[in-house]
């Protein structure tokens, strides 16, 4: 198991944003966490990447306890984070943005190869190498951030709402790229998403999170008809247990 989030509870002040959440990600898997606004999805990701610390529970990454480790060191461990809202470095140009991704690495030849791979995967980035990243369109910025994360050679990439504020066509393209990455280089992905439909299509396994608790976990293939997910997502049924595979 690559990542094991074990029973974490995270507080903002006195408010518990996430309660007893457990998520596991195996090597080469795409796992999605879906849920409505304020469900605690981003909080879970921020806790994994070390920006927040859980009040209870542990985060283990490839058998090392990384709970409460600072973000730089988590990144160095091989968890690359794509934060919500396309955080490009606006005044740096596209190439410099990508170079930031390689700054933790020393293997020059490999870096060049990965660089070419990213440019090949996102040709538009190559065309706009010298443009300030702030001038790119939303979709291009999302590509840039994913490219930057890739250049760190992550063992796990976490992505927060890749579809946020993008046209449906661009979202399709983003997901195409993500699945392609898994198939081509065996990248492990943990994706947080509001739109459950998209997540069901791309993921191997999904977790539905609402009000800070896991409502439903399961293989995407089993849940593909969407009914159970919808119920868990919107909370139509009461008394759903979070430990059980499907508790209703």
């Amino acid at each position: 198991m690559l990542l094991k989030v074990d029973n974490i509870t995270v507080h903002y002040g006195r408010l518990a944003a996430v309660r007893n959440v457990s998520v596991e990600v195996n090597e080469g898997e795409i796992v999605c966490i879906v849920g409505p606004n304020g469900a605690g999805k981003s909080t879970t990701l921020l806790t994994i990447s070390g920006i927040l610390s859980p009040t209870e529970g542990t985060v283990t990454f490839s058998d090392r306890n990384i709970t409460g480790m600072n973000p730089e060191n988590v990144a160095r461990m091989g968890i690359s984070q794509v934060p919500e809202g396309r955080h490009v470095f606006t005044s740096l140009n596209v190439e410099e943005n990508l170079r930031i991704g390689t700054r933790m690495r020393r293997d020059r030849a490999e870096i060049e190869r990965d660089f070419q791979m990213v440019l090949e995967m996102f040709p538009v980035l190559g065309e706009r190498k010298r443009q300030p990243a702030g001038k790119l369109s939303g979709g291009e910025q999302q590509m840039l951030v994913i490219g930057r994360a890739l250049l760190t050679r992550p063992r796990l990439m976490t992505i927060d709402e890749p579809s946020l504020g993008l046209a449906p066509k661009i979202v399709d393209r983003v997901y195409e790229v993500l699945t392609d990455l898994r198939n081509r280089i065996g990248l492990t992905l943990l994706i947080v998403e509001q739109s459950s439909e998209r997540a069901l299509k791309a993921a191997d396994r999904i977790h539905v999170l609402r009000s800070g608790q896991i409502q439903l976990s399961g293989n995407a293939a089993d849940l593909r008809d969407g009914e159970k997910v919808k119920q868990a997502y919107f909370g139509f049924t009461e008394g759903v247990k979070h430990e059980g595979e499907v508790a209703f």
Partner: protein, 373 residues
């Protein structure tokens, strides 16, 4: 590819009718390093003209302006890359200046005026160049210590912290009689600095600052300036990168302080206060905070304006009467210029961009640049 990058012209508006094909390795390097090369040439021309044709007063004014320019380039290394406004750097200038005094005043003066110095410093006298570099290092060490606390702050809190640093240093040196003569004037520094001496220091520092800004360290600092969260997520040690730029810039400003000491030959704590802080900051703001070209251009423009207004304050003889600006006209003039810049060009005269090779005809320059970063 060359076709598609034409959309770049917004970033680099200067495309020239003249194209100079840079084929030789030397010319490619000149292109890649164009901003510091350009400003070295400009400053060489200015210095040459004034030193050969100007009067002694104008020559002194020029040296003073060049010292400020060096301070502004130092400020740019920190402010431009980390994005934190610093009000504290004149403190490093003071540390550098007094460091130079400790090293180069003659032993008799030191014994008389600053008896607190340790025996070794008291009895030895060091050459000019050693004094300048070691004074810079002294400022860098102080920056390392104070910065490891200050750089944990972000944004306006960090700026206020640097301001507090200036005030602490200022009060400290003002009362540290056995080392600094306190409120009295320290005399006896050998006068070594003139414009010709300043020039090589400025050139080396400009190349160094440009190299840093393009290096992985400079890029990391700029990434943390643009987006702190994302830079952390990309593995950037934000505090560490800020601290690095703080220390480098303090080193530069410390050297400028030492050169300043060797320019006047006398020092008072008084001269390292808020007026100097604000004039150097306004130079950086007017030029454009995020580029080396901005720092240099801003210094040149403000210094030139300052000198012109000073002449006006002295006044002209028109027939029998003298026409002159009222006293304080200089400060008002700088204030007005700042306002105009802030209203109409918020990113400074250079719009935060470097001035790149204007004679471009092919894509070679760009590839040379991209290899650098």
């Amino acid at each position: 590819m060359a076709m598609t990058t034409e959309g770049n012209s917004a970033q680099r508006p200067t495309s020239s009718r003249f194209t100079i094909e840079a084929k030789s390795p030397f010319m490619l390097q000149v292109r890649a390093w164009w901003p510091p090369v350009l400003w070295s040439i400009v400053l060489l021309i200015i210095v040459a003209i004034i030193m050969l044709a100007g009067g002694p007063v104008l020559q002194k004014t020029l040296t003073d302006a060049l010292i400020k320019l060096l301070v502004v380039v130092g400020l740019y290394v920190f402010i431009g890359n980390s994005g934190i406004l610093s009000f504290g750097h004149i403190g490093f200038m003071m540390i550098g200046a007094y460091g130079a005094a400790w090293m180069t005043c003659c032993p008799r003066t030191k014994k008389l005026f600053i008896p607190g110095l340790p025996e070794y410093l008291q009895t030895h006298q060091f050459p000019f160049l050693v004094s300048v570099v070691v004074s810079g290092l002294l400022a860098a060490v102080v920056a390392l210590i104070s910065g490891s606390v200050l750089m944990r702050l972000s944004g306006i809190a960090a700026s206020i912290g640097t301001f507090a640093f200036l005030m602490v240093m200022y009060s400290f040196y003002l009362r540290w009689d056995p080392w600094t003569r306190g409120a009295s004037t320290m005399t006896g520094l050998p006068v070594e600095t003139n414009s010709w001496v300043m020039l090589p220091f400025i050139v080396v520092v400009m190349f160094g600052a440009f190299l840093y800004a393009r290096s992985r360290y400079g890029l990391s600092a700029k990434a943390s300036r643009d987006d702190e969260v994302a830079s952390k997520a990309a593995g950037v040690n934000v505090v560490g990168q800020r601290l690095l730029s703080f220390v480098i810039s303090a080193f530069i400003v410390g050297m400028a302080g030492a050169l300043f000491g060797h320019f006047l030959g006398i020092l008072t704590v008084d001269s390292f206060g808020l007026p100097l802080t604000f004039i150097t900051l306004s130079m950086l703001v007017v030029g454009g905070m995020q580029s080396l070209s901005g720092a240099v251009l801003g210094s040149i423009v403000i210094s030139a304006l300052f000198e012109a207004l000073r002449q006006l304050e002295v006044g002209f003889n028109v027939g029998e009467s003298v026409i002159a600006l009222p006293g304080g006209g200089r400060e008002v003039g700088i204030g007005i210029l700042m306002l105009i810049i802030l209203i109409f060009r918020r990113n400074g005269l250079t719009a935060n961009q470097e001035i790149y090779w204007p004679f471009r005809g092919d894509a070679a320059a760009k590839t040379a640049m991209s290899r650098k970063s």
